[in-house]
Subunit: 226 residues, 2 copies
Amino acid sequence: GPGEVVIVGAGPGDPELLTLKAMRELQAADVIVYDRLVTPAILELARREARRVHVGKEGHGASCRQDDINALIVDLALAGERVVRLKGGDPAIFGRTGEEVAACREAGVPVRVVPGITTASAAAASLNASLTHRDHAQRVQFITAHDRHGDLPESLNLAALADPLATTVVYMGRRTASKLATRMVESGLPSDTPVVAISNVSRDDQDSVHSTIGNVARGIDLPEDG
Amino acid sequence: GPGEVVIVGAGPGDPELLTLKAMRELQAADVIVYDRLVTPAILELARREARRVHVGKEGHGASCRQDDINALIVDLALAGERVVRLKGGDPAIFGRTGEEVAACREAGVPVRVVPGITTASAAAASLNASLTHRDHAQRVQFITAHDRHGDLPESLNLAALADPLATTVVYMGRRTASKLATRMVESGLPSDTPVVAISNVSRDDQDSVHSTIGNVARGIDLPEDG
């Protein structure tokens, strides 16, 4: 009979941020198909006999071969394997899960999704901070600052992003940070709005820089390349 | 010496959605101070000897006694207890974590935060769905539809909420769903925009209704009270 595909969120990197359910799926897998963003310490938690297949996908970066990944997980499941498709963070947030689910359904392969800790939650926790506050930030929004070419997306809703009553979390924001900050300030966000730039969230080498949107727009206070 | 406060996200209800880190904190706690939204199955995972204190807080509802909760966790920690402050979902998202962290800091009590699976992630996973899609939803935003009196907040950014290129997740949305949907349609969101209303996410009694924003505005297709 056919196997199945379980799309599992690995969280941001610290193995302790896996869910109990994700852990169980890793220990029941025949094959684990994982991204660049999944850490070695997480892969070590999987069943020893499970094959590990690195697909080297970089989120919304230019190197995506999403069609190849879709075909790989479908073919493995059709061959009877229990496939864990392991993604950094939460599969529902900038993870291209919809495309992988659609590919499985078209091929008649059973598919399930196990949520993960999204990087925004782990980043806030590491700062002892909230993303919302009933008096100051009644809305929180997540965007990615990469389109399929690695550039700042054209279709940003700048009115939504310039709202001083919202917290904005930018995923994969390093390369276009200064350009995005400039647009946000031009759209009315006060230039003294606080910014925290965090890299390698939840990992031993997590680093953060506290700044303002005005300074980021001027190209200062950015984290170094990790 | 003083104890400490660890603010821990319990996720949406299924104990399997706890993180390994949250589990460890539960098993090391002297006292667990928990909300209405935390399920009995999760409390069972705590150390047998730990005292359980139910503070009955209902998110942003009218029954909040946030000052009392702040004083309770601070006093317990000052008495030397290892306190786990257990919250439904993720502490950073509509959890009033900022106020509890501030109270601990003012009292000189060590405080840490452990992230949890937010309900939006678990809801999307249960539907095998993404909250983002590179072609259709480049922004995802979370709001709560309750102000401190249980009414729809006055200061909603309706332009941001009516954006057809965003996914909007409404926490605690049942009571004001029709009113909010009406405002979103009046602000330009197409009335055939799909809506899924989900209650008791990740629990055995999870229920969902698939509808459109137009129908919700007309007061039909709402989930029943759970």
